[in-house]
Amino acid sequence: MWAFEAVTAMHTSPRRLAVRYFDGRSSRAQAAVAWLHDGELYVLGPTVRLSVPAKQVRWPERTQRGPRVARLPEGGSLQSVDPAAWDAWLREAGRGDSAVVRLQQSWRAVFASLALLVLLTVAGYIWGLPWASREVAHRVPDSVEARVGEVVLAQLEGFTRPSQLTEQEQRAIEQAWEKVLAAHRAAEAARGVVLRPTRLLIRHSEDIGPNALALPGGAMLLTDDMVRLLQHDTRVIAGVLGHELGHVQHRHGMRMLVQVSVMGAASSLLWGDFSGILATVPLWLGQAHYSREAERESDAYSVQVLRASGIPPTVMVTLFERLALFERCGDEVLKAPAPDSPPSVPPAAAACKAPAPTGQGDEKGGRWGLGFASHPANEERIAFFRAAAR
């Protein structure tokens, strides 16, 4: 510091800026001048004369509004009197803005950032998230998945009862399914694929109507109503269970779980700033969308299962026809068929005696599994199974 006067006398060229200096110990401002020379910041005022390496100063970022405050290493600070002059001063001294500040200060760059943001979000949503959740789901240990399965099953037991079908009827379904499964297992084993463990549960439920669900951990739930809707046709039931087996093999349950968690975290990170309600919207959309993908995958799997045991995939058309009938006519369809009628009456011709009250069909099958609204349109799926039969 001894040479301060001598040194400063030599600095004739650098631009001097009027600033307010605070020493960090008192709230009183001192009018001072500051200049930059050779990587050093010099401050000269009534009771201050100091020089510090410019690198050690915490320079403020340039903004349109608000004064500038630069923090000096020993607790003092400089405050701008005229922000525009301050910015010009620093620019002249060759202290440019950081990349982030340059981005922030240009509307063009901000709109480009916004476009990129939207692009990345959409791409992450369409490709990144399903990919990541598939990868994660396949790495979840079986023991964890089994535990999750138990929890879900325990919840399901809350609104299911033991099956009301006769033991004979149940055994018929189980045996038919065992046969299909064995054929499929053999076919997969020939390709070197080992099936994930599954078990079939036939249950009565007032709440979920004709339905079949695949739970994490491999349990497959088939409702009495579904059996009745399909008129005990074990070939169609095999198709339905083949579809559920697809969910199990692709670990869709775990994938969904991972996706929901990741989406939840991501959307609360992005929108959590604003509102909880908004944060759940992408979550909800994501669920519907991904289950469509999963359904298509499982439909394809079902075709494989059926083929392995020589059942034509077209049997699945019956399922959609019966489901459509159920939507129109409601519970009436579930009553036992007349003993002399063939197993699958052409349903388009069958008119219901009393059409179901509007909305009932949606409510019955609208919430879960096969009847879920996010399933690909039935026409599309029927066409798929028809094409698979060729």
Binding site: S26, S27, T63, G66, P67, S77, V100, L117, A154, L269
Partner: protein
């Protein structure tokens, strides 16, 4: 000065009272640009950029808050905040994980969090205040750890029975819980509602008694009674509306009509929705305005005090405008909304002082710097300060 507060405050000498305004000079357009760039970097770094984004945001808001013409400055270092953020993230995960293991683990986690929480709360305020400066002086939060625990203890004691009750509620939905569980639950809830205003007062008192700048430390003179008024008025309104809705149904049934038909059920379904809208768009601005006015106008000491005059009408109008425009623009209006809200709330406050705030001297220079508490405030959505 001429306002009625002056007569009620003999410590203010009319001849030398100075009025220090608070201005907010931020612009929505500029914050929008900062926000978009922050979001992009957050996404690209998968969220790791968060502390840097937060520092940019705080520095913008602080730097545009001018007290008597001079800005606040935020000194927090992103690297340090990152560590705190990671620590709290781990705690949060552990807490959630414990909840999924067993009911007992949940209780243990709750107790552990309860033990840790006051320390995090205190350090969040110490961090925020200690990293804020004005005219070269750092603010300080001088509340002690012991007082932090003392002021949050009743809250913990009220919440603990609720968590413990969870142990007795059987996992099987088939087996109903014993009758007394329901009654105890109701009792504890009623107790919670009764003591909530007092608990809130304790928390605010702890915060507002321990803000310091140089030799000045604030005191908090709001009464517990005022807090009861603040909580009970909106609660009463909501209960009244619920009562009216229930009454309507009873009258409908009593007049011998059948069980409400489809239209009636539809109308009834709208009632909860209307209540939610009323709370979000009506009660929240009212509550925010009144709480800010109460808490800040009663903060000060014999030499200086804050005065907050935030009107409900302007809060209501701005919340409606912000909510509507944010919804229409799919969230893009949010930074403009945040700036407008900060301006309204900050500019409603001014400081009256009889000391010369230009000649304060720093107390011994301590730098409390626990970033974990700050991050905890973020994670659990706690409001720190104004």
């Amino acid at each position: 000065m001429e306002s009625p507060e002056h007569r009620a405050e003999p410590s203010f000498d009319a001849t030398s009272v100075r009025r220090l305004p608070i201005e907010f000079t931020g612009s929505g357009g500029e914050y929008f640009r900062i926000w978009i760039v922050n979001m992009l970097l957050l996404l690209v770094t998968l969220g790791l950029y968060w502390p840097w984004a937060k520092v940019r945001r705080l520095r913008y808001f602080w730097g545009n808050t001018l007290v008597d013409g001079d800005p606040l400055d935020f000194h927090g270092e992103p690297g340090q905040m990152f560590k705190g953020w990671a620590l709290v993230g781990v705690l949060f995960l552990l807490y959630n994980w414990a909840g999924s293991v067993s009911a007992l683990a949940d209780v243990v986690a709750f107790v552990a969090l309860g033990l840790l929480w006051p320390a995090l709360w205190r350090s969040s305020m110490a961090f925020r205040l200690g990293n804020t400066s004005w005219r070269g002086l750092r603010f300080r939060f001088v509340g002690s750890m012991r007082e932090a625990y003392a002021s949050l203890l009743p809250l913990f004691l009220v919440a603990l029975p609720l968590v413990l009750l969870g142990l007795w509620v059987p996992d099987e939905p088939e087996a109903p819980a014993p009758d007394w569980v329901g009654w105890v639950f109701l009792g504890v809830m009623a107790l919670a509602v009764c003591v909530l205003p007092w608990l809130l007062w304790r928390m605010k008192a702890y915060q507002h008694r321990h803000y310091a700048l140089g030799p000045l430390q604030t005191d908090f003179r709001a009464s517990v009674r005022a807090f009861y008024g603040l909580v009970l008025k909106p609660l009463g309104l909501v209960l009244l509306l619920v009562g009216l809705a229930v009454g309507l149904v009873v009258v409908q049934l009593g007049t011998g009509l059948e069980w409400p038909g489809k239209e009636m059920m539809g109308a009834l379904a709208i009632v909860p929705l209307l209540l939610v809208l009323l709370v979000v768009f009506g009660v929240t601005p009212w509550w925010t305005a009144r709480l800010q006015n109460l808490v800040w106008t009663k903060t000060g000491n014999s030499q200086m005090r804050f005065i907050s005059r935030l009107s409900f009408r302007s809060m209501l109008w701005l919340s409606l405008k912000n909510g509507l425009l944010t919804a229409i623009t799919l969230g893009l209006y949010w930074p403009f909304a945040a700036v407008a809200m900060a301006r309204l709330r900050l500019e409603a406050v001014h400081i009256r002082s009889i000391v010369d705030l230009e000649s304060l001297l720093a107390a011994d220079h301590q730098r409390p710097a626990e970033a974990a508490g700050e991050a905890a405030g973020d994670f659990f959505g706690m409001d720190v300060g104004l």
